[in-house]
């Protein structure tokens, strides 16, 4: 493997306390050195990154790669390719596949497929309960031993308070977080979007904020009871941010993520029954967006995760009630964060790298998230000022379900390196000739 020198970039590595123009030397799959005026070893490839930013590769704690089960909408290979196109070098795959990732063989399958695919590192998340049915605990110890980095019944909440309690107690033994999708089904049942004036006008059944808030409150109480680590998936409400802030203030072991769609869009995006704005939790209102941004700024929210959820074109081309929840996000997340958070001054570039690399890596105890020597040579080089227009037809993901098509964004990934190998270069585009234009 040839050494690579990333030459002359602004190196932003908050975990190492670094933000300066420097060179990064990658050799044998790890970061060898970071500093000014590093020499070029024999046979090394030089990436001229003057004027660009080099950061640790981004880490996404929340993706749905659909394999096994729905390889028609995404595979581990296409998802991992989309990830590196978006600057992510590590992604965590949620277990709600078919079959569910609730046993060590399923974990091994994901790791094997990811190894064959190359591109991003894929870390499996195991199920909390067998079949995600909310009844009996999955073999969490074996899941962790096989390589699962967290457990979750994502897609729905851990069904009962008792199951959540035992999962937290049990997972603590193996030092992995329990990731909860907070939704009280009895409050959200049949809902298609946020409950508010827009849902009233459109005549769609609403999902109230309280559907999320009551489970967040429950889980905080249980984290406190057990000393276990709850990670809150895709926080969407001002109330959840407030409760998480308060819990953290008391030292309760909770962490949280927010998606780019929740910090950029409101329920107004559902106007006209736009099914690409249908997701769960739903897009909320402006005060929630403001609270999520404030939470990102003050560290109440630890990280940005995409909840990348590919769906077939036919499934979204339906009546709003009948369309599935979810949007793809891997290829737009960084640019949305730069455009919506850095440009208005919500976050500095260093803080953004913290929220998208070191923060998520530390939640799931993943390697990387920093460019300290000896760490994996997972590097993202991007141009924070370059503008581009989102064209879903050019996604590497198999699916196109995004509400951001046609948006002008800033922040272009120039190179993504995983293990010291360039796995994505700007201008790489999938061969779209054999795909539907939509």
């Amino acid at each position: 493997m040839k050494p690579i020198v990333v030459r002359g970039a602004r190196v932003v590595d908050p975990a190492a306390g670094r933000d300066e123009v420097a060179d990064v030397l990658l050799q044998d799959g790890v970061v060898r050195a970071v500093g000014r005026g590093l020499g070029t070893p024999e046979g090394a490839t030089v990436l001229d990154a003057a004027g660009l930013v080099a950061a640790p590769g981004l880490v996404d704690l929340h993706v749905h790669l659909r394999e096994p089960g729905r390889e028609d909408v995404e595979t581990i290979a296409t998802g991992a390719r989309a990830a590196v196109a978006g600057g992510f070098t590590s992604v965590c795959a949620m277990p709600n596949t078919d079959p569910v990732t609730d046993n060590q063989a399923a974990v091994g399958f994901i790791l094997g497929q990811a190894r064959r695919a190359g591109f991003a590192r894929v870390y499996p998340i195991g199920a909390v309960s067998l079949g995600q049915r909310g009844e009996q605990l999955a073999e969490i110890g074996e899941l962790a031993a096989a390589g699962a980095v967290a457990v979750s019944d994502d897609g729905k909440s851990v069904a009962t308070a008792h199951l959540m309690r035992t999962a937290l107690e049990y997972a603590r033994t193996f030092a992995i977080p329990v990731i909860d999708h907070c939704e009280d089904h009895s409050l959200s049942h049949g809902g298609a979007m946020h409950e508010g004036l827009t849902s009233t006008r459109l005549g769609l059944k609403g999902i109230p904020r309280s559907a999320e808030d009551v489970i967040v409150a429950r889980d905080i109480a249980l984290a406190e009871l057990t000393g276990g680590h709850v990670h809150f998936a895709h926080v969407s409400t001002a109330g959840a941010v407030r409760m998480i802030r308060e819990a953290k203030g008391r030292g309760v072991h909770v962490t949280a993520e927010v998606t780019p769609h929740h910090f950029t869009l409101t329920d107004a995006a559902c106007e006209g029954y736009e099914t690409n704005a249908k997701m769960n939790p739903p897009l909320r209102e402006a005060p929630d967006v403001a609270a999520l941004c404030a939470g990102l700024a003050d560290g109440t929210i630890d990280c940005i995760a995409t909840d990348h959820a590919p769906h077939h074109y036919d499934a979204k081309e339906a009546e709003f009630d009948n369309a599935p929840f979810g949007v793809v996000g891997l290829e737009t997340a960084l640019a949305l964060a730069i455009t919506a958070l850095i440009e208005p001054g919500v976050l500095t570039l260093a803080r953004l790298v913290e929220r998208m690399a070191s923060g998520p890596a530390s939640i799931a105890h993943l390697p990387g998230g920093t460019l300290r020597p000896g760490q994996p040579a997972d590097v993202l080089v991007f141009d924070p000022a370059a503008a581009w227009t989102v064209d879903p037809a050019r996604f590497f993901s198999k699916s196109r379900n995004t509400p951001f098509g046609g948006r002008r964004l800033r922040g272009l990934v120039r190179w993504t390196l995983v293990g010291g190998v360039v796995v994505h270069t700007a201008g790489d585009r999938p061969d779209t000739s054999d795909r539907s234009a939509r």
């Binding site: 004036l197 009233t200 459109l202 005549g203 036919d314 709003f320």
Partner: protein, 319 residues
């Protein structure tokens, strides 16, 4: 096919007051056609209309069909049972297949809010919303307006919609239409059946039906569907009638006589007392009669009919 209204009629929210007045004014001359011995004029001769009903409907479907036939259109009725819908065909494919048969208009009733817009965005034919989920039922809103206008000017009239506003497309179309024409609008019902943020639409909210009756000139009493009890929105029909039923005793305490509307079908003894439904101030059957005239006006205008010629159009006989 587009005139004063555009291609489709999907709801009243996005119509202007002038467009709504035009529809009501156009309905006036059409009322008379249904009173004739030979109830037919050739206005829509040669036009093909599909009545596509994905939800059960008696009154609305028959009313549309009479309106179409009295204007001499060729009509086909499709209902869910026995259609390809039950075989799993998507709404897009159903629509494209209809379009391939070169139709002019689709009248659609569907259980999903937004289904009419979904269809309208994907076919070139005119789409008339005959009720989509909990969203809108514009022709019902129009016939309610026409019925009120037969008795009093709409501007300044106080209209209270009583009952299950949360699940009601009739309520939404009424609210938009009434507000645009200058009425004062209120809703009344148990809070569990009132949508969040309804006040922001510009309507008053009454928690008790006695207060609504004391305030209103017109009550539009909504049907209470029996499923609402099973779904936990109200404890029982008996209790609903006791607290929210529109009864003679409650109306007798009103400071003035109220006009009583109901979109049907009625649950006598649940949301409305039979003595009220059959009483002197009920205009429930007038609504049904007006429904045909309003739907004729909608069909006529969407087919490109000249509003000024509506009076003349009805004169053309098909004898």
């Amino acid at each position: 096919m587009s005139g004063a209204l555009g291609k489709d009629l999907l709801g009243l929210e996005h119509l202007s007051a002038d467009q709504i007045r035009l529809l009501l004014d156009t309905a006036e001359p059409f009322k008379e056609i249904s009173e004739r011995a030979i109830k037919k004029v050739p206005v829509l001769r040669g036009k093909t209309i599909v009545n596509l009903f994905f939800e059960a409907s008696t009154r609305t479907r028959i009313s549309f069909e009479f309106a179409e036939k009295r204007l001499s259109a060729d009509t086909v009725n499709v209902s869910t049972s026995g259609s390809s819908v039950v075989k799993g065909e998507t709404l897009v494919d159903t629509a494209r297949n209809l379009e391939a048969m070169r139709i002019d208009m689709v009248v659609m009733r569907h259980g999903s809010s937004g289904a009419a817009k979904f269809l309208a965005d994907r076919i070139e034919s005119t789409v008339i919303n005959a009720g989509d989920g909990k969203h809108e039922h514009p022709t019902q809103g129009l016939l309610d307006l026409l019925t009120i206008r037969d008795h009093r000017p709409i501007a300044g009239t106080k209209v209270c919609i009583v009952g299950d506003v949360l699940h009601s497309r009739v309520a939404r179309s009424n609210i938009w239409g009434l507000l645009k024409l200058g009425a004062e609008v209120a809703v009344c019902g148990p809070q569990s059946l009132l949508p969040l943020g309804i006040e922001s639409l510009g309507v008053h909210v009454f928690r008790r039906v006695e207060e609504a009756i004391a305030w209103a000139d017109v009550l539009n009493v909504l049907r209470l569907q029996l499923e609402r009890m099973q779904a936990g929105y109200i404890p029982s029909l008996r209790e609903y009638y006791r607290h929210f039923g529109v009864t003679v005793e409650r109306l007798e305490k009103a400071p003035r006589d109220l006009l009583i509307l109901h979109p049907g079908p009625m649950n006598r003894g649940v949301e409305i007392d039979s003595r009220v439904a059959d009483g002197p101030h009920s205009v429930i059957l007038n609504q049904v009669t007006n429904g045909v005239a309003v739907r004729m006006a909608v069909l006529y205008l969407l087919a490109g009919g000249n509003p000024e010629l509506a009076e003349a159009a009805k004169g053309g006989s098909d004898r």
